[in-house]
Amino acid sequence: MKRDLKTLVVLALAILANGAGNLSLSYGMKSVGPPGAWTLPGLWAVVGTALSSLPVIAGGVLLLIFFALFLALLSWADLSYVLPMISTCFVVSALLGNLVLGERISLIRWAGIGLVSIGVLLVGRTGPSGDAASSSPT
């Protein structure tokens, strides 16, 4: 029970870090702008500008935190539980893009958001580790 709670808290933190990270990256990269030319020097110039943008760096750090939390989850929970649960990130990113950046969400995308939410609720019901919940009391 205690472990289920820990899993949900770390999952929530990971999803928040991912959503905030993507938002920050997207916001920062819009002001960096697309590469002037799709050549190696052109791309390199974008990387240079991006690395001097505070929102891009903050986004990168948040995504690193996300990855660390993802690894922490895998240290005790099933991969077949964590992976679908982490997909909530897609929903959060889409909603944040809509609310904060004013990006439009099409009808098909709303349907996808609904399906991911239903799937996550189903997987959530199975608990972080399929066997530990029922059999071993460790």
């Binding site: 799709w38 660390a68 690894l71 922490a72 895998l74 240290s75 005790w76 099933d78 991969l79 077949s80 539980y81 992976l83 679908p84 997909s87 897609f90 929903v91 889409a94 099409s106 098909i108 995308r109 349907a111 996808g112 958001i113 609904g114 399906l115 991911v116 939410s117 239903i118 799937g119 996550v120 609720l121 189903l122 997987v123 959530g124 019901r125 199975t126 580790s129 399929g130 066997d131």
Partner: protein, 122 residues
Amino acid sequence: MTTFLLVGVIVLCFSFGDIALTRGMKQAGEVSSLRLAVLNEVGGRAIRSPLVLLGGALQIVAFVTYLVALSQRDLSYVFPLTATSDIVTTLAARYLLHERVTPTRWGGVVIVSVGIALISAS
């Protein structure tokens, strides 16, 4: 044709990367508390674990291949195809990691994958 080949590489690298990361982290030990000493200890073992490093490397290969695929085709074409990796990963978790995947969990994984495909296809 090459796009499908690239998607195959992406899906396999993501899936086996996740399998390696999971096995490595299970060996590194549970992050049992948020105390700095515990994080340091488990983190140190994780960073030195060959499986975690292999998993990280496979994720990087998958990501670079993904960028290559995106340079050829639209995001709305490539990304939904890579959503199949969740199903491949669940199969691998079942047979390689011997996780118990109940019918409820299978149902959830399939619905989530279809949902991801729809979100990115539009």
